[in-house]
Subunit: 197 residues, 2 copies
DNA sequence: GTTCTAGCCTAGGGCCCCTAGGAATGCTCA
DNA sequence: TGAGCATTCCTAGGGGCCCTAGGCTAGAAC
């Protein structure tokens, strides 16, 4: 009998690949085990249970996404940084749909595991760094980061759900939206709402 | 033996209530049947299968959400309409989290069923009507609608996922974001990107 | 009152999650 | 080299869920 040589990392990766190919909902102990040529009971030596496995996939995806964004935005500022950040975000969601939904699905993740992951902290740094060129101060900085992240996530989520199935290509809307957000950041209503209508 | 008096509507409603209380992932034939005091096999007389039931919940939720937005925005224009639309959206997501995730989850819905639902058409009308005061023309109108819907959905999704768990209350960010979007719609970069940095 | 149409039932197969306990593998160390 | 040992992977099995097949009964139609 040849051992399969499983580790937590290999199991998690197999789950991530399965998520991208068949959807995150199809990530199941039995399916992952089949993909690894192993019985499902064997996975419990490496992963606590299904929820644990899904949480690890979510953490892996968050780290990968953050890393891609970091690579895309280094050395850029202003609108260049905004566009690079946004495009890297959307590209990851397109390239790894299952992993991406894993990051979104609210899973109770093991705190110790989450603390060891470098993703979240790095993601916050990147978000704030991207906006450095626009001259915003707290709390506007936090609000702007949240608005941008909301828009990026919402766009790819609606795109994945097929809400943009009409005539105009999503790509066109996407680039126009980035233009608009850039303008917004330059005209950010700092002290009180600019209510001119 | 007393009959339970099931109908498609009652089964769908029970599923929707269960979704709000326990999460959309917990909407299962067995759970819904238990809630109705019935065996799971009995539900198949009213609903084709689990996927069909979930699709009906999604459609119900979409209709309810659209109705609330319609009530909130009638008679309003400009920023008033924008704020009313956005607040109704977020309020529905908060009041019915399970139903709301049902609308987001990409479920293959029976086309005949979807065609009979008034929600989608009405939702499109409302979105475009809300922007009537900003003087946008196509394709900017479509892009603006998509941007707004992306932001609204992304915000409540990240909120539900616990991404805004830090110091600043989400409410504050939300109202500032609406101010910012209002400014954005007034400064919408119509012809070519306003690239002034 | 009989017949017919439903609504609801039990029975059962297949898949999945997870635990318990056994066998084989490959490392450590005398 | 070979015994001991931790780890890896296995089979067996219980419980839950989805769904189909087929039977029984309540209420409507005649």
């Amino acid at each position: 009998m040849v051992r399969a040589g499983l580790t937590v990392e290999r199991v998690t990766l197999a789950g991530a690949e399965l998520a991208d190919e068949a959807g995150f909902a199809q990530v199941t102990m039995a399916q992952v085990a089949r993909r690894l040529g192993v019985r499902d009971a064997s996975l419990y030596a490496h992963v606590r249970n299904l929820e644990d496995l899904r949480g690890r996939i979510a953490l892996l995806a968050a780290d990968e996404k953050t890393l891609l964004i970091a690579e895309a935005t280094t050395g850029r500022a202003g609108k260049d940084a905004l566009v690079a950040y946004a495009n890297a975000w959307r590209a990851y969601a397109h390239a790894h749909p299952g992993r991406y939904t894993a990051t979104q699905t609210p899973i109770p993740i093991d705190p110790a595991l989450a603390a060891a992951a470098p993703g979240p902290r790095r993601a916050v740094e990147l978000s704030y760094g991207m906006l450095r060129g626009y001259g915003l101060a707290e709390p506007d900085l936090t609000d702007a980061v949240r608005l941008l992240r909301s828009t990026f996530h919402g766009f790819v989520a609606l795109e994945a759900a097929g809400s943009f199935a009409h005539a105009r290509p999503p790509e066109d809307t996407w680039s126009r939206a980035l233009d608009a957000l850039h303008v917004l950041l330059e005209h950010w209503p700092t002290s009180r709402a600019g209510d001119s209508s």
